[in-house]
Subunit: 305 residues, 2 copies
């Protein structure tokens, strides 16, 4: 019987696992898709301290996985669709019917890109609608594309896409960006980027793949169509907490609320990484939170055994 | 004129620097001793996520320094002995008389090992009294040594010293350890380690170098002498804040109090790493705090320019 289960093998889950496994605590990570989580969406990570030349998200994920496995940790594929509490035990239910039990549970399920919620978005996802410029940018060489959003990620993606695309429309519903100044400076002076302020997307149209978007000008109350082949949606993240069938405290957007020890409101359940409410969502912060969660999960185990 | 000054080139200072320099903010780190800070005291760091085989503190420090310098950051040797506020500017005074000015200041000066405060301790420091088992362990091959303390570090150091020493007395003033259980198990079953509970050091004696320690048994109210050649003191850390001539909020032990954005109570002054009050003192947590400090330092600069 495993004492500790971690849901999610992104940077925070793997880090929590590394901490616990190194301290000889039996630990199992359950991952739905691929080990690495949102790290895999990043081409090159330049501000993870310790890698002077940067490191690809894929490589960093591989390194952390190897580090975890070396200390004796185990990883299992599975889609968790329910959690239950039974006395002091935590029951983890997997979609295939399997039921696992543990003393400490660490939730590290991360977050996913928010959808726009407009007509055509679902239909054309993967056919011109993308949530990852790093992943899909190279498909749009010499094409016209749009990026929707006004934060750091949206501006970074617009800049990244100019490596491939002919024109990048950067569409934002407000009349200024909330992104960092130096990014704003960069998009302003990049001739391939056309900034469209105070505009929203009404619909995404096409036959087999995306051909145009319907855009509303919020100031002039005017509708127009833009011919594009790709639209990259970068309007924020939502935490992956749909599987949470128990009453864990969350903020209004659904991010799990933890204290400085990464404890949730339920004793023996910790959370870390992009799924929690916090100040900064980065690989390095996720790793730090994972290590902290591991440390206090171990303290918790020490206290109950 | 540099916009941002960071005091201290340990993991948190370097990380803050990496974040800012990458975003094209001019940044200067001032370091008193050696780039790397307390990382240099660690032989091998095994739980910094991303290095499957572990990495020496020295190597990790070199990597972070290189990463910082590549982005255009600057490092300068200097012993800061005063901070002043002038309007919105922060004035940094260096012992050699130099005076620097900046808009944002990040304090990342770390912490130092606490002293026992007993007779002989000062006199024999470097001559048998050590605060770093990793650094000085190899000098005590086949000798008798003592470790003072009851936390994780003390127990880890006792275990480490058994690689060299003949006998390791582990002396603790309480009758149980606060260290993690698996470490307690390891010291219990290690035949080279003799655990002395409820005992304190009264004096360290010797001629040229340490020869014996005077130990008081707190339960039996008895004094005895132990022949040893080395004593490793591991009774906690104190923050390096003596240079702070301004009124920054600290806790009762002197650790700087920051919020989740690494802001101190003074606008434009941030702190991160071992110098702050927090839950867990590790390289990875220091790096994460450094990145957060860098991020919000940049936001602060954006807001004032």
């Amino acid at each position: 019987m495993f004492k500790t289960i971690i849901i999610g093998a992104g940077p925070s889950g793997l880090s929590a696992g590394i901490f616990l496994a190194r301290d000889k605590i039996p630990v199992l990570i359950i991952e739905k898709f691929a080990v690495g989580g949102n790290m895999l969406l990043t081409e090159k990570i330049e501000n993870y301290p310790g890698f002077p030349n940067g490191i690809t998200g894929y490589e960093l994920a591989k390194n952390m996985e190897e580090q975890f496995l070396k200390f004796g940790g185990k990883i299992k594929e599975g889609d968790v669709n329910g959690i239950e509490l039974k006395d002091n035990k935590k029951i983890v239910k997997i979609k295939n019917g399997e039921i696992l039990e543990c003393d400490v549970l660490i939730i590290a399920t991360g977050s996913s890109r928010k959808k726009l919620g407009v007509k055509g978005e679902e239909e054309f996802t993967g056919k011109g609608v993308s949530y990852c410029a790093i992943c899909d940018g190279p498909f749009y060489k010499e094409k016209e594309v749009a990026v929707v959003g006004g934060g750091d990620s949206a501006l970074e993606e617009a800049i990244h896409l100019t490596k491939f695309a002919k024109t990048v429309y950067l569409i934002h519903r407000r009349d200024n960006f909330r992104a960092k100044k130096y990014l704003q400076d960069e998009v302003m002076k990049n001739e391939k980027i056309k900034i469209l302020f105070s505009k929203t997307i009404k619909e995404i149209k096409g036959k087999e793949t995306v051909e145009k978007i319907v855009v509303e000008d919020l100031k002039q109350n005017k509708i127009e169509e833009l011919n594009i082949r790709g639209i990259f949606i970068s309007v924020g993240f939502k935490p992956n907490t749909d599987f949470l069938s128990i009453d864990i405290k969350k903020d209004e957007e659904g991010f799990i609320i933890v204290n400085e020890k990464m404890e949730t409101n339920i004793p023996g359940i910790f959370a870390c990484g992009d799924v929690i409410k916090k100040q900064l969502y980065q690989v390095i912060t996720a790793c730090s939170e994972g290590i902290i969660a591991g440390y206090f999960a171990e303290k918790y185990l020490d206290s109950i055994f």
